[in-house]
Amino acid sequence: MDKLNFSIVLPYIHLFFRGALTAIEITLLAVLIGIVIGTFMGIGKMSRLLPVRFLCSAYVEVIRGTPLLVQLLIFYFGLPQILGFTIPEFPAAVLALGINSGGYVAEIVRGGILAVDRGQMEAARSLGMTYGQAMRHIILPQAFKKMIPPLGNEFVTLLKNSSLATTIGFPELTRAAQIVAGNTYRPFEPYLTAAAFYFVMTVSFSWLMSLLERRLAASD
């Protein structure tokens, strides 16, 4: 049996830091895309128009009913067959994760909106605001506050899911560990190191979120 020797990772540590940074980049961009898509899909799911409601529900169901890994592979390896050109790894990873996240954020948005008291919409409409104005100025700001904890969870999930970008050969954190494992023939240390990087990132993010939540709760 061999003892753990983390010093073998040290010469490659810059790969881990760069990988961690990339993971955060992918995640942030994907979450942004997810929030934009999710807001429209979430509101669309509550539309009075049946086709809109159907389309948005279908989107959410398909996204949530298929594995992210498969979605990613379709996006990167499948789509070029039809498009005639390849999407580079980074935008492919960001788009696939963002589109995936949109499906989950849609449910978060819908839940957030439904959690706002009905009277708020009625009060806004009774003052002559249109549905859109009421949504923008009254409902969404309040819904967003209720959405922050689940959105935080979504961010953490996405950060971990960004490791799947390894499968399309993108050099993020997990890929860094793979490279080091290959070079040193010692897989345990680099993968443990990668896990530690993810853990530190998710834990510090969760801590930041709970701080933010407390701040926001104070203004209630």
């Binding site: 409409r125 009774s126 309040q142």
Partner: protein, 240 residues
């Protein structure tokens, strides 16, 4: 000013309004009383289309509310509403609650809207609370802000949906005082309430509703001193 003809409203199979006919004149204070579940609130909420009537006719200043060509958002600017549960916007300060609709809906400049809001807050006795958030106000204060918010749109008529029902007893008076002040100023008001003293003192006319119909109407004296309908008598004997 408001004309209601043969108004029906169903919620699914449940018939809540069964043919309401009413006229409300300019400057009149009409108080709607009746047991709970009688359709009073639904009737009131039909007057600004928060509930869509199943059939019938509502005209405000001659304009039909149910005509598809009527811009309901325009109509609502002229019809202020005060809710039982205040429904202030919790993420906005008191003054922002009041200025939001004038700015966004009417396009009034923020400065003018604020001036008007401060005037209104002065009127309801809450000028010192302008920068507070609603959560820090008492129920009575919240309702006075809600009234100021509705007034900021310069409505031609004000609807009150049980405005004091969610208040602690010691806060009812401050809200009723604001409403009295409004009535004496000539505001057209439709008030759904259980405050019989208010109905007597301020009401020009009282409508008694039960089971989706207006069973009796008259001056407060007529209704309270010599009710004709047995249901009115029964209701009043229970609450007075």
């Amino acid at each position: 000013m408001i004309e209601v003809k043969d108004l029906y409203k169903n919620f699914g199979k449940l018939e809540v309004l069964k043919g309401i006919n009413a006229r409300i004149e300019k400057g009149e204070v009409v108080v709607v009383i009746g047991p709970s579940g009688s359709g009073k609130s639904t009737f009131l909420r039909c007057l600004n289309l928060l509930e869509k009537p199943t059939r019938g006719e509502i005209k405000i200043e001659g304009k039909s509310l149910l005509d598809p060509s009527t811009d309901i958002n325009k109509v609502r600017q002229d019809v202020g509403m005060v809710f039982q549960h205040f429904n202030l916007f919790p993420h906005k300060t008191v003054v922002e609650n009041i200025t939001l609709a004038p700015i966004k809906v009417k396009g009034i400049s923020p400065k003018d809207a604020r001036e008007k809001a401060m005037e209104l807050l002065e009127r309801v006795g809450l000028a010192d609370k302008a920068e507070c958030f609603p959560a820090s106000l008492s129920g009575g204060q919240k309702q006075r802000v809600a009234i100021a918010r509705a007034l900021a749109m310069n409505p031609k008529v004000m609807l009150f949906d049980e405005p004091t029902s969610a208040l602690d007893p010691e806060m009812i008076k401050e809200v009723l005082d604001v409403m009295k002040d409004l009535a004496s100023d000539g505001m057209t008001m439709v008030v759904v309430t259980h405050e019989m003293r208010f109905a007597r003192e301020v009401g020009d006319r009282v409508l008694f509703m039960d089971e989706g119909k207006i069973l009796e109407e008259g001056t407060p004296e007529e209704i309270f001193e010599s009710p004709q309908n047995p249901r009115t008598k029964e209701f009043l004997s229970k609450i007075l």
